[in-house]
């Protein structure tokens, strides 16, 4: 019975970086799930501090990413996850050149910290430690067209998952510690001048709530996520470009679905979208994504 339940979980693979860290899914030992996700984001309005505006010199800002991802069941209790996106940005108006390149490698350890099943209800707690580092020397100080913030990060996340029959709820909260970054200028002004090429990056707290339907073949869920920049950030100054250490807050909602055909449960397709409801110094982004995953079993063939 227990094994059957685990099998159901392991066949449910990861998808987006953010989602893999926040979901209540886990690979069994020696199973390797890998795949790719394409994501497309766009916004034509953004919040400059709390002032919501458009910018005709940017028009619509697009970014798209193609990520390769993997999740390996190292032990019965520990998964190791990896992801690496290639990102491309573009503005529909104005003169600024879009950017593209390999972005940040993320490596996470996901630990099955607690699990209890009472009748048909499962309670699970995971602890995730994620580390990320930029893999290419992209320019962070070219917002909003930079492909990333270029900060090395460490994320500690706790995930609590509750599944009753086919319905589940997942709550997770993460603290993201961000290392200072190096920019191409040796002086800059935030709310005061700095004579250095290093920029202190404020940390971020991220909480995520999901609710939905989950079986071996189908997952359908709705989510609400809140990203809150901690102290040290500042607002985009009036009619100026954003800066990497701006406070960037966003409240997002989204839906997601994943399907694994009964005939080939090792294969899965996923798709979803997200929308930014409210924010500060971020674009009001609409994201859509889709991906494809496959699971390999590295266990010695037994029965």
């Amino acid at each position: 019975m227990k094994n059957k339940y685990l099998l159901g979980l392991l066949l449910a693979p990861l998808f987006l970086f953010s989602q893999t860290e926040t979901d209540g899914l886990f690979m069994s030992k020696n199973y390797f799930c890998f795949g790719t996700v394409y994501q497309h984001n766009s916004w034509n309005e953004y919040w400059e501090g709390d002032f919501k505006r458009e910018n005709l010199n940017l028009g619509t800002v697009y970014s798209s990413s193609l990520a390769v991802m993997g999740n390996y069941g190292l032990t019965k209790k520990l998964n190791v996850l990896i992801s690496l996106p290639y990102v491309k940005t573009k503005a529909s108006a104005g003169t600024l050149a879009g950017q593209e390149g390999v972005q940040d490698l993320t490596l996470s350890l996901k630990h099955l910290t607690f699990k209890r099943k009472i009748n048909r209800t499962a309670y699970t707690v995971y602890t995730v430690l994620g580390l990320s580092t930029p893999l290419s020397d992209y320019a962070a100080d070219f917002l909003p067209l930079s492909i990333g913030a270029k900060s090395k990060t460490a994320t500690l996340r706790l995930i609590a998952d509750y599944q009753n029959k086919r319905f589940f709820t997942t709550f997770s909260a993460a603290y993201v510690k961000r290392a200072s970054i190096e920019i191409d200028r040796n002086s800059y002004f935030t709310t005061k001048p700095y004579y250095t090429n290093r920029v202190d990056m404020p940390d971020v707290i991220n909480v995520n709530y999901k609710i939905g339907y989950r079986t071996n073949t189908l997952i359908a869920e709705a989510s609400l996520e809140n990203m809150v920049t901690q102290s040290g950030g500042f607002d985009i100054t009036s009619n100026n470009m954003p800066f990497p250490s701006n406070t960037m807050n966003a409240l997002r909602t989204g839906v997601f679905t994943k399907y694994s055909p009964k005939q080939n449960p090792r294969l899965s397709f996923l798709a979803g979208c997200n929308y930014t409801l409210n924010g500060r110094n971020v674009g009001q982004t609409t994201s859509i994504y889709g991906g494809l995953f496959y699971i390999l079993n590295f266990n010695k063939k037994q029965s």
Binding site: L56, N57, T75, K76, K77, L78, A93, G94, T95, L96, A97, G98, L109, H111, T113, T127, L129, L131, D137, Y138, A139, D141, F142, A154, L156, Y175, K177, A179, S180, I183, D184, R185, N186, S187, Y188, F189, K192, P193, Y194, Y195, T196, R198, D200, T237, S238, N239, N240, M241
Partner: protein, 518 residues
């Protein structure tokens, strides 16, 4: 087995996370926090005879004689110092550390910060027009000023030139009154900064404060509270440190304020107020260019923004006559119909299609765009970091900063004169497929402002510090070329801009050779 795994993995997570989350509190190392207390190699005792910019003579403004240093009133002033020192706080020690680096340097940094903070183009009105900052109503939206590069160049020049004249007068009166410093009068007095052998009345720091505060009140009227706070710190530092008694500082302030008034009167009538022009004048610039058979410049911003300070070329220079500005005006840019123009446009297009990370780095390093201290500010930072190693006296600091900034104000005047005499388009206006690595400045291309500012600055700095000539010239060249790498300028803009910058820089160098300081 199972529990071993569990223990191991939990242990692993705990160890890694505690290392990461506790060891990441970094402190940024800021270069301007590393500067040492000013300890001049030479006191420039004869600086009271140096040539001034506006003062007709160093004693054009009178200064009362000081109280005698052996008087009871002077003893009470020394007692004030001692009473501060007896209960000195950590904050007061921080103020001493900060200001002892030098008044000219710290006020130059403060000014760079004010320029950066106010270097923001106004946000458009709902009808697509733009509001204009108003000196008469500085707190309205948009706040006054918009410290664009020409505004900033002029502001740096006025403050530096006024500081120079105030310090020449200070040196003059120091020699005339020869009042000894408090620590010379009272051997028991502690001095928390390097001792100066100069007479201490009037205080050079007081004079810097007096003159700078008055000019900054004019140039950055919304910042007066902040400016006064800094000035109060600066004055207090001299007294707590035991370098000056209060009457030294007060006399310096009085003298500085009188001299500031002369510079303020000049600033009010130097033509900068009219540099913005009127819609009729903007239309005329366009029509005149069309009449010449050329393609006129158009704003690439949306909504289209009026050209930046089109009549700044008519602002009154400290060194050049209006005739000299016209005489130095570069030859016309290649006609947009010429083969040379097509070749130069193709060069920029090719750069835009073959961008490299190194290009981006150079472009960003020198961009000095919105929200920064502008290219003149960048050269002030370069100069300050070079000067600080040379342990100049305050008066030489002021003189060298004034030469640099007057050259860059002349660069702004001459460059803006050329830009609006020719009113030619940016590369992206002619070929919208040329995407840029930095914002396109909202004024005509020819000649490049960065090139003119940088060549003027490097010419002056190379004269002041000949051992760093190669380095200054390499920086200027890179700053100039960064504008082509950013795809916002043609080669002619940069090359002719460099030539123009060298010309105006040399005018300042000629003055430097005859001002009595060399």
């Amino acid at each position: 087995m199972k529990s071993t795994f569990k223990k191991t993995s939990i242990y692993l997570l705990a160890v890694i996370s505690s290392i990461i989350f506790t060891s990441c509190n970094e402190d940024l190392e800021e270069r301007n926090n590393e500067f040492q207390a000013l300890n001049p190699i030479s006191q420039d005792e004869e600086a009271g005879a140096w040539k001034t910019f506006l003062l007709t003579s160093p004693n054009e403004y009178s200064l009362d004689a000081p109280i005698a240093s052996n008087s009871p009133a002077f003893t009470r002033e020394i007692n004030e110092i001692k009473s501060f020192q007896a209960n000195i706080t950590a904050e007061q020690q921080r103020i001493i550390r900060y200001w002892s680096v030098g008044g000219v340097l710290r006020w130059n940094e403060i000014m760079r910060a004010l320029v950066a903070k106010h270097n923001r183009p106004p946000y458009q009105n709902p009808d697509g027009t733009y509001p204009t900052p108003s000196a008469a109503n500085p707190f309205a939206n948009p706040e006054f000023p918009f410290s664009s590069p020409p505004y900033a160049a002029r502001a740096y020049a006025y403050v530096s030139a006024a500081q120079h004249d105030a310090l020449v007068a200070t040196w003059f009166y120091k020699k005339q009154f020869s009042r000894i410093a408090p620590f010379t009068q009272d051997n028991a007095l502690q001095v928390l900064v390097p001792k100066s052998t100069l007479p201490s009345y009037p205080s050079e720091d007081g004079a810097i404060c007096g003159v700078t505060v008055e000019l900054l009140k004019l140039l950055f009227p919304t910042e007066i509270a902040f400016i006064q706070e800094k000035a109060a710190e600066h004055q207090l530092y001299r007294i707590i440190a035991g370098a000056n008694v209060r009457s030294d500082v007060d006399a310096g302030i009085t003298l500085g304020k009188k001299i500031a008034a002369k510079f303020i009167a000049r600033a009010s009538s130097d033509g900068a107020g009219a540099a913005i022009g009127t819609p009729a004048q903007w239309a005329q610039l366009e029509n005149e260019t069309i009449a010449k058979g050329e393609t006129p410049w158009k704003s690439l911003e949306l909504p289209a923004r009026p050209p930046m300070l089109p009549f700044f070329g008519k602002v009154k220079s400290f060194i050049m006559t209006p005739e000299m500005v016209i005489a130095n005006r570069p030859v016309p840019p290649p006609s947009t119909k010429s083969d040379l123009f097509k070749k130069e446009l193709a060069e920029i297009k090719s750069i835009s299609q073959n961008q490299t990370r190194r290009n981006m780095e150079i472009v960003t390093f020198w961009a000095d765009g919105i929200g920064t201290y502008t290219p003149p500010g960048h050269w002030n930072a370069i100069a300050a970091e070079s000067f600080v190693k040379l342990n100049y006296s305050e008066v030489r600091w002021a003189r060298n900063m004034a030469l640099l900034n007057i050259a860059m104000m002349d660069a702004a005047i001459s460059c803006w004169d050329a830009k609006y005499a020719y009113y030619n388009p940016r590369p992206t206006q002619i070929d919208p497929s040329i995407k840029t690595n930095t914002g396109v400045p909202n004024f005509p291309a020819y000649v490049s402002g960065h090139s003119t500012f940088s060549a003027a600055a490097s010419t002056v700095l190379s004269h002041l510090i000949p051992s760093k000539k190669t380095s200054f010239e390499a920086m200027a060249k890179e700053a100039s070329e960064s504008r082509m790498l950013g795809c916002i300028h043609y080669r002619s803009d940069c090359e002719k801009g460099m030539e123009l910058g060298q010309k105006v820089g040399n005018l300042t160098v000629q003055r430097a050779k005859t001002d009595g300081a060399e």
